[in-house]
Amino acid sequence: MSTPLSGPGSATQAPGREPAGSRPPRSRPSRTRDDAPISLTGLAGKVLLLGLTAGVAVWAAFPLIAAGMWPGLALLAACTAGLFYLYLTRRHIPAKYLVPGTLFLIAFQVFPVLYTASTAFTNFGDGHRGSKDDAIVAIGSSSVTQVPGSAEYALSIATKGDPATGALVFLVTDPGTGAVSVGDTDGLRRLDPADVTVATGGRVTAADGYTVLTVGQASSRSKEITDLVVPTPGGAVRSSGLSRAYEGKAVRAYDAGCDCVRDAETGQTWTADAEAGAFVAADGERLAQGWKVNVGLTNFTRVLTDENISGPFLSSLIWNFAFAIGSTGGTFLLGMLIALVLHSPRMRGTNFYRVLLVLPYAMPSFAMLLAWRDMFNADFGLINSLFGVNVDWFGQAWTARFAVILVQLWLGYPYMFLVATGALQAIPRELTEATSVDGASPWQSFRAVTLPLLLVALSPLLISSFAFNFNNFNAIYLTTEGAPFPADNPANGATDLLITYTYRLAFGGQGAQFGFAAAISLFIFAIVAVVSAVSFRRTRQQEEVYA
């Protein structure tokens, strides 16, 4: 990135790249770009960085080739070639400085945001993850049942990773031949008899490269074991208890003629509904496995029209504003108060106070949030024992809301105190002295002189603090986790911000709803963007842009 090139003012610049006419043209140095000095360190740095770029590109190319992802490879090649061109040419000087950060910005922020936006128009989530074909396969293999004459196997559960978390595989032994196979969601593979130890009864007790789970370990993961389906050509292998498996036949199969799924035993059919991305029976019953489709604006209108969602959403929104305003305003008021108190020529020991006052800002906030959570603990928390009360702080809506704002006040006011101190010191003392000579009371001089000047200096910080607190995920997730929840709505609690609500929709225990969560993200974005745009306009922060 250290490219020794001619200065930005050389005479042969490309058209359209002249400095804007904000200042009168001056006589320029008459050197052309060809005589520009090329320093040795600059050249060495350039060669090193471009070499590194080439190395990274080659390293990244191999997996793309192996996976056959040609568009990705083309993009990689184009980016690398573009970088080489940019830093070897003498033109496009601003781009040399802008491109490094912009590449990261596009890859890890702009692209995810656009992806979010496109997800918001789909029903993407648990049960609607893949294509229709994926759904048909999943329906078939999950409907596998044991029929008379099914092959039976002795079963051991094993994993290649940690017994508590690693991906599970089945080690099945054919009782007739004694052959051992390993099965996962991709299918069955025969194992070399030399690599496995088989006990009498046929169960595998050890296999090279696998850890066989003990009965205790297996039973603690029995749900996963029941759900594991190993597809085979004629159906699938499923477990029956923890020590036996069977190869059953798929009862439900897709019938292209009626575009429906038919149950071979009951004869019931579920017809494909292309708008909902699911197979729906005549009585409205849906199969759990659907596919991803475009649902248009449904996710957005649900927020406004579905009564189960719109009510809690609206109260969350109001609380979200109250939280952001309360946290920002509270920290500002307290911080400014203490800054004013310490801002007196007769005050001694201000440095001592300052060091102690800003300690909360320097403490790791995630850990202090967790510590505060336990200080509010109803049974043996510090707050209750210190004040001799017995309040279930996070159990009631209003005490919980009070508690999280108090915690934010503690975390945030030292910052406001610091910047208010800085701004106060920048206000000339002559101004306040002049008002007192003119007979103004301290309060009048504060209202008329100090406060307006403080607000001018700090309003951009207040706006960004508001935007930060509006999405202050940690403040809620690390303390109340949104609690208390109303009895009829486990998805949206009294202290939930929109961002914690979104997070629960996407990663919570009740099944991921990525599409809906993405729609809420866009709502949050729109709100923050409008609030910031309006307030930035008022503080005229954009002036510099037009310079």
Binding site: S6, I338, Y361, A367, I499
Partner: protein
């Protein structure tokens, strides 16, 4: 009489300041007391340790958890991310502050817009994208510091560029113009003249980015699930999960204090820069 006047002019200020200090300090004292509590549980911890003092929790922290590993992970991620993000945004801010080019205004305005869309709002998309990345390049995927690092760098421009541009705008243009007249290239102007002049402020921006990254929990929690890859925020959150919440409080408090030591030291050292840096950057920005 003199006493009353003293109180009216100065004394009440001390009173308010002392109250403020008490409010600031009591949770920290509580954490300190929990860390020194020999029993190490939440239920036995009081504001002031009464049941004796021991350093057992600090030993337990390193024996029972991978705290040392988490600490190194956090230092690595936060250190590299803050340094690189400050550097990247300084580059961009230099271009925006000193050069005039097509798309400058659009670029600045779109940065302002992007800044309003915090990266973690796209967490669902990021999760899905990094699922693919993990399949292709496991060494920059989930459970690696490098993947998280790349992600943090993606947010770098949006957060810092405007602030930095404000700093650069405060430097008189005559400085780099005269250097250009003397034959310096644009890179030499940037590295030899501009960077040294804004270095203290870059240090502060870096420190703030460092603190922000250490405290980042949402994305790290989605990203890092294996014990050895966790950062302090994710690992210590895990300490207080489930049934162990009461029993682990002592070692958790010990970990909090150890995490705080570097930031508190650097912070006290840089305090005056923070005051002047934040306000000047924000006002000009």
């Amino acid at each position: 009489m003199r006493r009353n006047r003293w109180f009216a002019q100065v004394g009440w200020r001390h009173l308010v300041a002392v109250l403020g200090v008490l409010f600031s300090l009591f949770p920290i004292v509580f954490v300190l007391s929990a860390a020194l509590n020999p029993l190490g549980t939440l239920s036995t911890t009081e504001l002031v340790p009464t049941g004796g003092v021991s350093l057992g929790n600090f030993g337990g922290l390193f024996e029972r958890t991978a705290f040392g590993r988490w600490f190194l992970n956090s230092l690595l991620i936060a250190g590299v991310a803050s340094f690189a993000s400050v550097f990247l945004s300084a580059l961009a801010a230099y271009a925006f502050s000193r050069m005039r080019f097509r798309g400058r205004r659009v670029g600045l305005l779109s940065l302002l817009l992007i800044q309003m869309f915090p990266q973690f709002l796209a967490i669902v998309a990021i999760y899905l994208i990094f699922g693919t990345i993990t399949d292709l390049w496991p060494s920059i995927g989930f459970n690696t510091p490098w993947g998280l690092l790349l992600l943090y760098l993606g947010g770098a421009l949006g957060v810092n560029t405007w602030l930095m541009k404000g700093f650069f705008d405060t430097l008189p243009r005559e400085l780099d113009e005269s250097a250009t007249m003397d034959g310096a290239s644009h890179a030499q102007v940037f590295f030899r003249i501009m960077l040294p002049l804004v270095a203290p402020i870059l240090a502060v921006a870096g420190l703030l980015a460092f603190i922000g990254t250490i405290n980042e929990f949402l994305m790290a929690n989605v990203f890092l699930t294996s014990t050895d890859s966790k950062t302090l925020a994710v690992g210590m959150y895990g300490l207080l999960e489930g049934n162990e919440r009461n029993n682990n409080f002592g070692i958790f408090a010990a970990g909090t204090l150890l995490t705080a030591i570097p930031t508190v030291l650097v912070f006290q050292f840089l305090q005056r820069y923070i005051v002047s840096g934040l306000t000047s950057g924000a006002v000009k920005g």
